[in-house]
């Protein structure tokens, strides 16, 4: 069961990787404009200069050949260099990935802790008003609007906005995520509370705290699967949030690589993201099995 799951995951990851890189490359290539347009802007290079740059970048070959070459390079580990900044793509992507991982892990952990605390208040302490108010406020605006709002508040109170730092994007993601995830957790818990085994625990005279933990334990696998999904999205790039606060994560990297048609970086981004997402998928499946004894038993 376990190993077949891994094998299945790896196969899926492999396919996703190939499709994702090819797709993003084709989209970027079919979009008008290329790195030479970016380099020369409103000017035009002479035909000979254009040809020279094209052949150096391999843009003179047929499109399917370019895709095949990129695939080969992904697997041979030669991810090339950024067209504009000569830095190796692996290094560029790694830096951004680290920033995004940091953001994603922190946002996920904090959001989860906050949601559990709120759920605890409402389920085990009968304080429903505060959690409801917070979650309604949080889900009243999309993430990007929250980002702008938080920035406006800082500007009005003359608190320095730490552009490029993790503080504000993190706050934004936590604030904007809490509402949705609290609601998911809450409804999962409510469903759990209506299960007969909780009734049995109540009959046994367990304390409310212990019953809350029991219910939490019961819903955690499903809850974590949804949280992991969002964590993956943040790693792939919380584009709007990163752009607002100039946070150098994967989202900003994608925006820049696309607008400057930096193909090697784009491919590197797509490859990394598909590997990460596939891995996360696998991890969340495994975690789900590990945490849900019913699935474990079926092996």
């Amino acid at each position: 069961m376990f190993w077949s799951l891994i094998a299945n995951g790896v196969a899926k990851a492999f396919a996703t990787l190939l499709i994702a890189t090819a797709l993003i490359y084709l989209i970027a290539r079919l979009f008008p404009g290329d790195p030479i347009t970016v380099l020369y802007g409103e000017q035009q290079p002479s035909e000979e200069v254009r040809k020279a740059i094209e052949s150096r970048l391999g843009l003179d070959k047929p499109l399917y050949m370019q895709v095949l070459i990129y695939w080969k390079r992904i697997f041979t580990g030669d991810w090339g260099r950024s067209i504009f900044f000569a830095e190796p793509v692996t290094q560029v992507v790694f830096k951004s990935l680290l920033n995004s991982l940091k953001l994603s892990i922190l946002a996920t952990v904090i959001t989860t802790l906050v949601c559990i605390a709120l759920a605890y208040l409402s389920m085990a302490r009968d304080i429903a008003l505060l959690p409801t108010a917070i979650s309604t406020l949080s889900s009243s605006m999309p993430t990007s609007v929250w980002g702008v709002t938080i920035m406006a508040v800082l500007a009005l109170t003359k608190k320095p906005v730490g552009f490029g730092g993790i503080g504000l994007p993190l706050t934004t993601l936590v604030v904007a995520g809490t509402g949705v995830f609290y609601k998911i957790l809450q409804s999962l818990l409510e469903k759990a509370y209506s299960e007969p085994f909780i009734g049995a625990y109540i009959a046994l005279g367990m304390t409310r705290n212990r019953i809350f933990l029991k219910a939490l334990r019961y819903v955690l696998p499903i809850y974590l699967t949804t949280v992991f999904y969002r964590a993956g999205l943040i790693i792939a790039g919380a584009m709007a949030t990163e752009a607002i606060f100039a946070y150098p994560g994967m989202g900003l990297l994608l925006l820049q690589a696309f607008s400057s048609r930096d193909y090697p970086v784009l491919i590197g981004w797509a490859a990394t993201v598909s590997i990460i997402l596939a891995t996360l998928n696998m991890v969340s499946d495994i975690l789900h099995i590990y945490m849900d004894p019913r699935l474990r038993g079926s092996s």
């Binding site: 979009f31 008008p32 404009g33 290329d34 347009t37 970016v38 380099l39 020369y40 802007g41 409103e42 000017q43 035009q44 002479s46 200069v49 020279a52 150096r56 950024s82 504009f84 900044f85 000569a86 940091k102 892990i105 922190l106 952990v109 904090i110 989860t112 802790l113 702008v148 920035m151 406006a152 800082l154 500007a155 009005l156 003359k158 608190k159 320095p160 906005v161 552009f163 490029g164 730092g165 993790i166 503080g167 212990r210 933990l213 029991k214 939490l216 334990r217 955690l220 752009a243 607002i244 606060f245 100039a246 150098p248 900003l252 925006l255 820049q256 607008s259 400057s260 590990y290 945490m291």
Partner: protein
Amino acid sequence: MEMRKTFKVIVPLVVVAILLLSIFLVYEYLLPPRATQTPATASTQELQGTSASLTIAIPTDLSTIDIQFAQGVADFEVLGKVYESLFRIVLDNGRLSYVPWLVKSYKQINETAWLFVIRDNVYFHNGKRLDAWDVKASLERSMRISPIGRMLLRDSSGNPIISRIAVLNSTAVVLVLAKPFTPLIENLAHLATAIMPRDIAEKYWSGPINSTADVIGTGPFKLVSYEKGSKAILSRFDRYWGNAPRISRLTYLILPSSSARIASILSGSADVVVGVSPDDVARLKSSGLVVYNATGVRLVLVAINCKRVPDPRVRQAMNYAVDREAIAKNLLKGFAVVANSVVSPVFPNVYTFKAYEYNVSKAVELLREAGFTNKTLRLLVSTRSPKDVQLAQAIQQYLVAVGINVVIEQVEHTAFLKRVFTDHDFDLAIYGPSPSSLYYALTYWRTNASLNGPLYSNPVYDRLLDEIASELNESRRALLYREAQQILWSDAPAIWLYFENIIVATKPNVKGLQILPFQMLVLDNTTVE
């Protein structure tokens, strides 16, 4: 039993989470920032303010770190602090002029030979002394691969203007021209002809500089670090030959979102913010910030594809159909000057014409005369600037009112550049050139010039440009300039709209800031009190 299993899962999760959290929090907030200013030890009056740091929020990222490949405003703003050219463009009483800079003196020997004596006390950021070989290599590289350098230093048929650069000794060079070329000095003031060390020019002989370690100029600031999409940090160059700037550390924050830029200055994260929207001026002023409203050279226009709209009467009609005053007043809140010339009047020899006044009936009449009825034109606009999109909607309204159907097509910026300047696949397109000199601005419209997106072509105009280049008599040259501008104005390869003002906001303690009409900040005398 059940309970213990639950804890086996939750407790480690929580512990790991809290650990990670505290590590990150300590890392981000509690550790002292790594790049803080070392406090000034000297306390004399004279040294006060000399170790000030300045943070400037700019709207666009650098497109390159190679000054000779620089195109955008951000490139020149940042790299223009690192590099210098032989001449410098200065603003004096509202007029631009070109003064010798890395050159101590110069002399025209004959019609086609110019002698330049280079300053002997200039050092590059790597400690090397500037010599004539650096000048030769830099100019040759610029002529060879710099996109703008190729425009500036080549004639209409693509041949280099400078046929030979002869080094006489370590501080003297002679530029031998292929034929007389009067705009030479103003073109040598453009940063696309900036001077870099010879070995770097040769290392990057056929491609752009792509390592920050090789960004070495003679300017007052050197590049410390550049993080793409985030910020560029510069520090004062201690061996700078000229007057040392009062700013010791210069940070450019790249903030494309206009609300982020406004927040950066309101919150105190930035000292200066560039690219302020007219809509935000009142708010910034009421918050006690200083707002500069400077003349700009960026001429915003609607280019008309002359291959698709060949009749000048139709193009003139479009000029009559648009109410520029209303656009400047309403859309730009008065932060624009209606264009009565084809190039900004801050340049010498620019001639101002009778405005195309807003006249719907005249426009309709011209269109009827030309038989241009029931036509639909596609208006291309780049999504990079929200103002341009609003402008496109206004233009659409005006043209519809005279019977021309307009379909607006919004495209991403790189795609826009390709459509307009490479493929010429558009009917109308909104953009705004920012030239460095009158002659350069006029060459945009030369037949087959690479900036000639609308494919305008008039042999008389082309001939006039050649004559200007070779006319040594200044007053006769002024007349030729005037004639060329007259032709362009009435041939109307574009709807001439307005010159955009440059709006910059600073904290009240930032003093002595000067703004060049190219949207470049001059920090020579800037202080932070």
